[in-house]
C-alpha cells in the first residue's frame, strides 16, 4: 500500500530547492519540444538525459518527468494552431482544435486542452501512486520463470503491435535481441559478438544508442522532410476555461481519464491510441455527434485528456515490473539505470522513499505544466515558428555532446551516430525503432532469467508451464501475438483490395 507519510515527505522533497526548479525547467522544455512538430516526447527525454548526470537522482528524475508530461501535453498546441500535430499522439486534437482556431477560438481551445490534459495526467498519476505499490508487492513473488515469461510477453506485444508490419516489427525486435547479447555472457562471463573491440565487452552503452535511435534519427528525418512549418498567425484570447465550459466537458473528461489509463497500462500502445479511442467514444456517446469535427470543446478535451491520462499507465509496468510499455518509458528506464536505480519490485522494497518522491514528482509535473501552459500559451504558440535551419543543427549538437558526455569516449559518440543513421533508415523503410530498443532491455531480462530458470530446474523446460503465473503470462503472450497477426492479415487484405481497385483504375506500383 502507498504510505501517506512517505508521500508527504516525497512532496516536501520535490517542492524544495533545485528539484522544483529542475521540474519547472523540464516541463517548460517539454512543452516546447511537444509544440514543435516533428520533435517527440521520447526525443526530448533522450536529449536531456545527459544533463541529469551531474544531478542527484531525484532532481534528474523529476526533470525528466517534467519533460515527459510537458511534451505529451505540448503536442496539442501545434494541432490546434496549424493542424499539424506536435507529437504523433496529438493527431486527434486537430479534428476539433483546428476548426476552433479557424473560428478565432484558438485561445479557448488551448485553454481547454491544457486543463483537460492536466486533469487526465493528475488522475493517472494518482492511480499510479495507489496501484503501483500493490502491483510491486505482488511482483515480489516472481522468480526467474515469471520474469522470463514477462519479458516474452513484453517482447511479443511490442513487436506485433508496433508499426504497420508485424514482420518488420519482429525483425527490429530480433535485431535488438542480438544487439543486447553483445558483451559478456550473463552467466558464463565470456565475451560474445565483440569483434575484438575492448569497448564492446560491456555491450553498447544504452543512452548513446537511445539518443541515436530516437533523437538523431528524427534529426535526419527532419533534414529530409521538414524545412518550414506553417506560420502561426492566430490571436490567443480567453485562454482560461470558464466553469460552465468545464461542466459541459466533465463527463467526457472522466471517460477519457479511464480510457487513457487502461490504454496506457497495455504494453506497446500508448498516447496515440488512447486519443483516437477517446475521441471516438466522446463522439459516439454525445447527444450532438454531428458537431464533432466542426470545432467544439469536447472534441479537444477528449483526446488531450486521454493523451496525458495514458502517462501514468505507461509508467506503471515500467516502475513495478521493469517492463517499459513504450519508447518514452524505455528512455526513462534507461535514465533511472544511469542513476543506479533498477526499476522493478525491488525498487519499491529497497528505495520506498525515492519511489514516493517519483509519485510526488509525477503529480506535481502534471500541475506544473497546466500553470506553465496557461501562463505562457502565447510564447509556446510562437515557438512553432522557430527556424528549422537552426533548430536541427542544434539538436544534432546536443545529441552528440550528450553521447560523448556519458563516459567521455569517442566510441559512445560513434555509437549514437551509427544508430542514429540506422534508425533513420529503419523509419524510412517501415521498421519501427521502438521494438529494437525495448528488446535491448527485455532481451537481457529474458536471457538471464531463462538461463536461471533452466539452472533451477536442472534443464527441464517444463518449469515454465508448471508455475501458474508464468504459464498465464506465456498464454497471454501467445494470445496477444495471434490476435495481432490476425488483425494485421485483415489490414493487408484490405490494402490488397484497395491496390487491386487502384490498379483497375490505371495507377501502378513501381519498385
Amino acid at each position: 500500500m502507498v504510505s501517506l507519510e512517505l508521500l508527504r515527505r516525497g512532496f516536501a522533497t520535490v517542492l524544495t530547492g533545485y528539484n522544483i526548479v529542475a521540474l519547472v525547467l523540464g516541463s517548460f522544455f517539454g512543452i516546447i519540444v511537444g509544440a514543435i512538430p516533428g520533435l517527440t516526447a521520447t526525443m526530448g527525454i533522450a536529449l536531456l538525459v545527459p544533463f541529469t548526470f551531474g544531478m542527484n537522482p531525484i532532481t534528474g528524475i523529476v526533470m525528466l518527468l517534467g519533460i515527459y508530461t510537458g511534451a505529451i501535453y505540448g503536442g496539442g498546441i501545434a494541432s490546434i494552431l496549424i493542424k499539424t500535430p506536435g507529437t504523433p499522439a496529438a493527431a486527434a486534437t486537430t479534428f476539433d482544435g483546428y476548426p476552433m482556431a479557424q473560428k478565432g477560438l484558438a485561445g479557448k481551445a488551448i485553454g481547454m486542452a491544457t486543463v483537460a490534459s492536466g486533469i487526465g495526467g493528475t488522475f493517472t498519476a494518482l492511480c499510479l501512486t495507489f496501484f503501483a505499490p500493490i502491483l510491486a508487492n505482488f511482483a515480489l513473488r516472481f522468480s526467474a520463470p515469471e520474469y522470463f515469461a514477462l519479458a516474452v510477453f513484453g517482447l511479443s506485444v511490442t513487436v506485433t503491435l508496433a508499426g504497420k508490419s508485424p514482420l518488420k516489427g519482429f525483425i527490429s525486435g530480433a535485431l535488438g535481441l542480438l544487439i543486447a547479447m553483445i558483451g559478456l555472457d550473463p552467466m558464463g562471463g565470456f565475451p560474445r559478438f565483440t569483434f575484438g573491440f575492448p569497448e564492446m565487452t560491456g555491450g553498447f552503452a544504452f543512452v548513446p544508442m537511445l539518443i541515436g535511435l530516437f533523437a538523431l534519427s528524427e534529426g535526419f528525418r527532419q533534414v529530409e522532410v521538414v524545412l518550414t512549418a506553417p506560420k502561426v498567425d492566430a490571436v490567443l484570447k480567453d485562454i482560461l476555461p470558464k466553469l460552465r465550459e468545464l461542466r459541459e466537458c466533465a463527463v467526457t473528461i472522466v471517460r477519457s481519464c479511464m480510457i487513457g489509463l487502461i490504454v496506457g497500462i497495455t504494453p506497446a500502445i500508448g498516447a496515440e491510441t488512447s486519443c483516437f479511442v477517446s475521441y471516438a467514444e466522446a463522439k459516439r456517446t454525445s447527444k450532438h455527434p454531428e458537431k464533432f469535427g466542426t470545432g467544439i470543446l469536447e472534441g479537444v478535451a477528449a483526446p488531450q485528456c486521454a493523451e496525458n491520462a495514458s502517462t501514468g499507465g505507461d509508467l506503471l509496468p515500467m516502475l513495478t515490473l521493469g517492463l517499459p510499455g513504450d519508447a518514452a518509458t524505455a528512455v526513462l528506464m534507461g535514465a533511472l539505470t544511469i542513476h543506479n536505480l533498477q526499476p522493478g519490485p525491488l525498487l519499491f522494497r529497497d528505495h520506498p522513499d525515492l519511489v514516493h518522491e517519483i509519485f510526488a514528482g509525477m503529480i506535481t509535473a502534471n500541475i506544473v505544466f497546466v500553470i506553465l501552459g496557461l501562463t505562457f500559451a502565447r510564447f509556446f504558440a510562437r515557438v512553432i515558428n522557430i527556424n528549422r535551419r537552426y533548430l536541427i543543427p542544434l539538436i544534432f549538437i546536443f545529441c552528440m555532446v550528450g553521447s560523448y558526455a556519458i563516459d567521455n569516449t569517442l566510441f559512445d559518440l560513434a555509437t549514437a551516430v551509427v544508430f542514429g543513421f540506422l534508425g533513420y533508415l529503419m523509419m524510412r523503410y517501415g521498421y519501427p525503432v521502438s521494438p529494437m530498443v525495448l528488446a535491448q532491455i527485455l532481451g537481457a531480462m529474458m536471457e538471464s532469467n531463462f538461463r536461471r530458470s533452466m539452472a533451477m530446474s536442472r534443464g527441464d523446460p517444463l518449469i515454465f508451464v508448471t508455475r501458474p503465473i508464468a504459464l498465464t503470462i506465456l498464454v497471454l503472450a501467445a494470445f496477444t501475438t495471434i490476435v495481432a497477426i490476425r488483425r494485421q492479415r485483415r489490414v493487408l487484405q484490405q490494402e490488397a483490395a484497395l491496390a487491386t481497385a487502384a490498379a483497375a483504375s490505371g495507377s501502378r506500383v513501381v519498385e
Binding site: 551531474g54 514482420l167 565470456f190 535526419f220 522532410v225 536541427i392 543543427p393 567521455n408 523503410y429
Partner: protein, 153 residues
Amino acid sequence: MATPSMKKADILAALLLVPICLYVFYESSRWPIPALLGNPLLIPRGVAVCLLAAAGMLLYRAVTGRALPLEKRLQGADLRRVSGVAILTFAYVFAVERIGFIVTTFLFLLLFGLVLGERRWVRLAVFAVVVPIAVYAIFDTTLHVPLPRGWLW
C-alpha cells in the same frame, strides 16, 4: 503518378540479415558451455533461426509484389541534404577529438546551415560561434563534464 514501393529495400534488408544470422551460428560454435548455467547457445541461435525465417518471409513478400508502399522516394535535393548531413556528422566524429570541440562544432554548424540552405551569412556565423561556446560553458564549466579539447581548441 506511379506509387513507389519498398521492394528493393526489402530484398536488400533480407539479404543483409542472412550473413548476420550465419555469423551468430559461427561465433556461438566457439563458446564454452558451462555446466549447470543453462545452455548459452539456445537463445542466440533461436533468435538467429527466427530472424532467418523472417528474412525469408520478407524476401518472399517482396518478390511476390507484396512490399508495403514507400512514402516518398529519396532523390534530388532531399537526397543531397541527407547525404550532406550524414557526411558532416560522420566527419564530426572523426575530427572532434583531434581538432577540439569548439572549432569542430563551429565548422559543423556553419556547414550544416549551408547544407540546409541558409544563406544569411552573418546570422549563421553568429549562431555557429555562440552555440559551441555556450555548450562548452554549460557542460565543461557548469556541469563539469569534460568535452574534447584536441590540438586546436
